[in-house]
């Protein structure tokens, strides 16, 4: 597929353990096209997060081929993979992982600073993104002064800071109540509608139902795929 952001071809991930190797992901083939919205569901331990980490180039497949933006990830060293993540991939975590000593705006600025964006430019971009996620008035607040939903929205703004082609979210509503979770889900929909490919790992059937493709995993494999 010419417009594929990331393409996994028969990738597996095996963890060596004292009691014997554990196969977390087995023989998965998956292509995420530009602007796509995919949800990955499945029971705990089925390999959803491991697959997400491989798609996000933070973990390497034990076998198979992963191509991100026409580049074989296995040929990239750690520095190149970091750069690839920095410029092309955004991550949203269940636990937000905002830095508590920085304000919301500074948290959003951080990836831009790492990417070498000029100070004035990254400040403007941070404020723009915080306004986009509905937190324009909370730019100077620290994470401890924000609610869980607000923190996740800041985390989404941070993930979008360097205009990624792919946004990966691992249980983005896992720590939130239903109402706040829906707000975050709506925000993610908007991010996707604005052109960013989105892959969400979730237990939440409501959140998963918003995706155009829903993959269900079991025992490390994609057991079922449904399109909307």
């Amino acid at each position: 597929m010419s417009d594929a952001v990331v393409a996994a071809q028969r990738i597996s991930r095996v963890f060596p353990m004292p009691a014997g190797p554990v196969v977390a992901v087995c023989d998965v083939t998956l292509t995420v096209a530009a602007g796509e919205h995919i949800a990955i569901r499945g029971p705990s331990g089925c390999g959803k997060s491991t697959l997400l980490h491989m798609l996000g180039c933070v973990d390497a497949p034990s076998s198979g081929t992963l191509v991100f933006d026409r580049r074989d990830v296995s040929t990239l060293d750690d520095r190149a993979r970091s750069l690839l993540r920095l410029r092309h991939i955004g991550f949203v975590f269940q636990r937000f992982f905002l830095l508590p000593m920085l304000t919301a705006a500074e948290n959003v600025e951080l990836p831009q600073a790492e990417a070498g964006a000029p100070k004035r430019e990254r400040r403007a971009r941070s404020l723009e993104l915080l306004a986009y996620v509905g937190l324009g008035a909370r730019a100077d607040h620290r994470p401890a002064q924000l609610s869980g939903g607000e923190m996740q929205r800041v985390a989404i703004a941070r993930a979008l800071a360097n205009r990624p082609r792919l946004l990966l979210a691992d249980e983005p509503t896992g720590e939130l109540d239903q109402t706040t979770g829906e707000q975050v889900a709506a925000l993610l929909d908007r991010v996707n509608a604005d052109g960013t490919a989105l892959v969400i790992v979730t237990h939440d059937p409501v959140l998963a139902s918003r995706a155009r493709r829903v993959l269900t995993m079991r025992d490390g494999r994609i057991d079922h795929e449904a399109a909307r």
Binding site: R95, M101, L102
Partner: protein, 391 residues
């Protein structure tokens, strides 16, 4: 936000722990600074005292220093011979004895130095210098004890150390009050003409304890010329004398300071390693998240190194005034040892101590950060993120 600013924010995030670390480094750094001052302090102080005497070569009959040994029986003719060398400017004979100085029924035991010429190994504070026979300069302790001042007459009863027979007392006029570089605190001292002292001791004016020489500009050359002229005598420039002192008496201080320096540096190393390791372990999830967001391995390692540098840098700066105060206090304690010249110091500042201090602390900052840097460098991003969610 640059790496240093980011590290600073990380530090102030846990102010109590950071302050403890900084204070720990300040205390350790102060000790380290003091050990560096102590390692060369005595030598530098002794060099200063020797330089203040105004001579740069000494000629003795024995290598027993700092106290001279047996008399130079032919001191006067030897001095005359040496004075003719082109590398020598002046030569004086020096005789040291003990005596009672008496005035109006008050008697003090005093160390006497008799000298045959100029420059004098003392500095006149009040009054004038001795002008010849019958004049004496006394130090402040003697002046206080005898309530003497320039113009006063005192009686000198020498009990010369090598002669049990007490010579008749001599009346001397106090020409001035002087400071003697090797004065010990509260001990009386006096300086007079060598011939006067020889007469007071009923000894030959030809003899002396040792000779002091002022070179024409090159002490080492003057010492070599004198040694060639009189190979039977021990000739030492100030630097050579200091070298001998370093090898003998002062080597203990250097050894003690080396051991304590190693101990203090090790302590700082462990302190910062533990603090940073605990700090890093508490935020592995954040580090893994930053790595997932694209922060390079180099960047997260640099963050830890900068935190270490900040703790040690701030602590190191604070350690300097703390160390200076501690050195002054310890110096005052050590100087209470009996028989030490008042002007001698154990802790002496020298600029290169600052450089060594900074260098050792910088090396400590790097070494202390090595283990926590290794933790973040090898952090498995995916499994750390997974573990953080599970925990």
């Amino acid at each position: 936000m640059n790496v240093l600013a980011f590290a600073w924010r990380s530090l102030i995030r846990q102010p109590a722990r950071s302050i403890l670390g900084i204070l720990g480094v300040a205390a350790v750094g102060a000790l380290l600074f003091d050990m560096l001052l102590l390692s060369e302090g005595l030598v530098l102080s002794m060099r200063d005292l020797l330089d203040r005497l105004g001579y740069d070569v000494r000629v003795m009959s024995t290598d027993s220093i700092p106290r001279p040994g047996p008399d130079l029986a032919d001191a006067a003719p030897t001095a005359a011979q040496i004075a003719k060398l082109p590398s020598v400017r002046t030569v004086v004979t020096v005789r040291t004895e003990a005596a009672h100085l008496v005035r109006e029924g008050v008697s003090v035991r005093a160390a006497l130095v008799g000298i045959s010429g100029r420059p004098r190994p003392w500095t006149v504070l009040r009054g004038r210098d001795i002008a010849g026979a019958g004049d004496v300069v006394i130090n402040d302790s003697a002046a206080r004890a005898l309530q003497a001042s320039p113009g006063t007459t005192i009686t000198l009863s020498a009990f010369c150390s090598r002669d049990d027979a007490a010579p008749p007392p001599r009346r001397l006029r106090v020409a001035g009050v002087a400071e003697f570089p090797f004065d010990t605190p509260d001990n009386a001292g006096a300086g007079l003409d060598a011939a006067d002292l020889a007469e007071a001791c009923a000894q030959s004016a030809e003899a002396a304890d040792y000779l002091l020489v002022t070179s024409a500009g090159d002490p080492e050359r003057a010492a070599a010329d004198i040694a060639a002229l009189r190979p039977d005598l021990l000739v030492l420039s100030n630097e050579q004398a200091l070298g001998q002192l370093q090898q003998r008496g002062f080597t203990y201080f250097r050894q003690i300071s080396t051991v304590l320096t190693a101990v203090t540096v090790s302590f700082a190393l462990l302190l910062i390693t533990v603090l940073l390791t605990v700090s890093v372990n508490q935020r592995l999830g954040e580090v893994a998240a930053l790595r997932a967001l694209g922060f390079s391995q180099r960047r997260v390692v640099l963050d830890v190194l900068c935190e270490s540098a900040l703790i040690i840098g701030i602590g190191g700066v604070l350690s300097l005034p703390l160390g200076a105060l501690l050195a002054a206090w310890l110096d005052a304690i050590l100087k209470q040892m009996p028989g030490l010249p008042a002007a001698l110091h154990f802790f002496v500042f020298r600029p290169d101590a600052l450089v060594v201090h900074a260098g050792l602390l910088a090396a400590t900052a790097i070494l202390a950060a090595a283990y926590p840097m290794r933790i973040v460098a090898r952090l498995p991003i995916a499994s750390t993120l997974r573990n953080e969610v599970i925990s």
